[in-house]
Amino acid sequence: MRSDLLINYKKYCLAILVTFILGFVFLYGSMPRLIYGNEMENRSIIFSSSRYMYIFLASIAALGALAGSSFPDLGSKVKTSNYLLIPASTFEKFSSQFFIRVICGAAIFLVLFWIDARLARAISVMQMVDIKTNLHYANAEHIIDKFNYGMIFLYEKGISYSSETGSYPIEKIVYYKPIETWGTSLFIVSIGLYLFSVRLFFKKLGLVKSIISFVALFFILFLFMVLFSHIFYPRTVGFDMSLPTYTLQKGINNVELWLFLIGFVSPLFLLPLGYFKLKEKQL
């Protein structure tokens, strides 16, 4: 790992810088800075947790790219030879890449996104102008919610009061729903681990081929679902899927449990799969 950091530190620093700048541009570009005065009444304009969530999910592709471009030395025969002959065990080689690209990558990404979100909000709030008065909008801080990771990983529920004059938010409940939270998080982690491990099966263009294989796998899964829908629910038409949702326990439905299981179980075989593929790697 020390060797990897010594050799690639410039590349890693550049990646951090580019991620930081792109994240900022993405967030700042999405935040409102021109106000027409009625935003407080029209809640849909307000930059809230759902907007952050969309941007976060889109940005997480950068993390997927980092994980999918693991083991860069396996891209060519000459570099593969050098890499395999480095006097370190397969476990050390595998775990160093895992630690740098998945663990550190995710941690740095979360920190960068948080800084970007806070910075973009601070600047946007400062620059927010009311079109009617052409002055700084006094309630700017209420237009853009302050980012925190609870917005992504905890579920929110808004309660509003409707009257003849409009709908007013009166209460917001933030609650922790383990299955949804962990199911979604682990599902994202699984995609990252898939890109990280499956990359070892390809010599060239590992990231691109991993993504294509992932899409292909998803398409096969979709076809299976369609097939099962036709078998178990004969009224299914064409490529429609019949996926009835039912509650297994209080707060847990079958689809959430399915996501959770995929997210929880797949790392258990994806990581060993990648490790053994690296161990058996030949020139």
Partner: protein, 227 residues
Amino acid sequence: MLHLISGLIQPKAGKINVNGFVPFERNPNYLADVYMVPEEFAFPPISISTYVKAFSPLYPNFDHHKLHDIFKEFELHPTSNLNKLSHGQRKKFLIAFALSTNCKMLVFDEPTNGLDIPSKSQFRKILVSSVTDEQLVIISTHQVKDIDTVIDTVVVIENGTIIYQENTDEIAQKLYFDLVPSLAGIENVLYHEQCTLGQRIIVPASAGNESSIDLELLFNAIINKTI
């Protein structure tokens, strides 16, 4: 064969054991004692000193003084960027690094390819002075003349089978290599090849009469099964 020894590929049949290790298991202790200089190589875009800093700790017997001396001989500067060096200079660096690892087994695949004439001579000199009796150096080359003065055992492999294996001292005692204007009057010629100056020949050596080994001629004689 070199790839099998270094653990880069797995044998399709049979087993390989080198110093108690199975190469393909790529045990770090084994890899720390085997260094391969491949014919083709690639370096990251870093300086020589960074490369040395990154990889030398992985070789427990790495000798920095030796590296420094070889750098001097090869006129390499630690601050140079590896990817900005010429192919020959990069090869020299790799040879210098390989010799400084003090690995028990050094594998050179076409080590003189890309080296100019003075560098080939430097390579021979450095190789002889850097390697100890505890080390084994395996050289695979098509340029046999480049290394004929540094080898002590000649092994010829054809289609995966060793067809000839002899110590250079024994070869010199058994065979006499000569250049003659013609074959007239020469008896017991084991092998001959025409050249611009006449004939290059191999004849049985007589007692006390030794010659330098013409590896190319010897190789052709072995391939033509006259020896």
